[in-house]
Symmetry: C2
């Protein structure tokens, strides 16, 4: 008898993800699962998003980290509802971890819930958490061939934010090549260029969020 442990794990995960999704739907939350390599800019994107959404939509955050609560500390000044999950040795967030965070959030006070996954270009892509969309960040210092080398995450994502474009002159990263490689593994993947430190491109990203929210839940009822 062969026991496929991984298949069992993923099936159990998907059931919990579906239950999370029902809870999010009931509360009118648009939920994004934000994934990237370590240091690609997830927390800085959250900071810029918190600033740009102010007065438009109410943001909540679940931040996953192996150790430390640095990310949630960075977000404190924006006075958002934030839950920090420390995963111990786990290299990704799964649906059960997200389920455990939900009782600590007032979901009816949140329009957009951003889930900051553990920095890892591999494992997080395998685990649904109940999100509407997976969004990933690739920084230009990581190289333009990454979609070919880590295809699953690019395949699973709806939007790719290419970050740190201020560093383009100092790298051999080609935006065209990166987009071509991304399209090879996922022809439907939207791409945007941003610089989370200077704020360049953040307007387009926030418009994308607002449009998705409106398409899903109608007008900006709570603005």
């Amino acid at each position: 008898m062969k026991i496929n442990v991984m298949t069992d794990v993923l099936e159990a995960n998907d059931r919990i993800a579906a239950a999370n999704r029902e809870i999010f739907d009931k509360h009118g939350n648009l939920v994004l699962n934000l994934m990237s390599s370590p240091g690609a800019g997830k927390t800085t994107l959250l900071e810029r998003t918190a600033e740009a959404l102010r007065g438009k939509l109410r943001l909540g955050v679940i931040a996953g980290d192996i150790e430390t609560t640095r990310d949630s500390e960075r977000l404190q000044k924006y006075q958002l509802p934030v839950v920090q999950l420390t995963t111990g040795t786990a290299c990704h967030l799964d649906a059960n971890m997200i389920a455990s965070a939900l009782p600590h959030l007032d979901l009816s006070g949140i329009d957009i819930l951003l889930i900051e996954n553990v920095g890892n270009l591999v494992c997080p892509a395998e685990f649904k958490v109940g999100e509407d969309y997976k969004v990933m960040i690739l920084s230009v210092t990581e190289g333009d061939e990454k979609p070919l080398k880590y295809p699953l995450m690019f395949r699973e994502s709806s939007l790719l934010l290419i970050n740190k474009i201020d560093l383009l002159p100092y790298t051999n990263f080609s935006l065209e090549e990166a987009k071509r490689n991304a399209r090879k593994v996922n022809p439907d993947l939207e791409t945007m260029e941003v610089c989370c430190t200077t704020g360049e491109g953040i307007g387009a990203w926030v418009s994308w969020l607002v449009e998705r929210y409106q398409a899903r839940f109608g007008k900006l009822r709570r603005a």
Copy 2:
């Protein structure tokens, strides 16, 4: 009854790693397990190392990738013995994967075997493959707090190469802060600053390799 799948997996892995290690010892191979985030510069380090070791010690490479054989293609021009492992969905190399590569390498013709792990700052640190040392690369664009956020890999490593120091002026990365954070999680961790694209610091890294080889196997018998 509680079955700890992960403990069983790691114990089985360690047994195979010990068997690999015996094979390496018999052939006089100094073996390094090279780990980093995606795009931190592992393959470029291998290229610089191949150039710098020429005429000193004979280098061999096992390159692990989820998909694509791009890394081994980049190494072809150095005429090294290279085995490329494509791991499918696996986010790390384990001892069994390395064991499966060994019949494809003439180990008696290799002095230093560099194992390029999958780009991932989390999972590879848990799996021994039979190496003498774990070496990791952190690029300055990833941020100086990474030792605190991904402590296991920093704890398991003997040497930390801080790469892309040519980009220091364009980031808020502090070398001092990075080293202080690294020492907090591993007081024995050696650090070196390098730039794999310009070659800065590669001499010190290669001296480190040669010294470790000599300490282990005596004089450079095959030089």
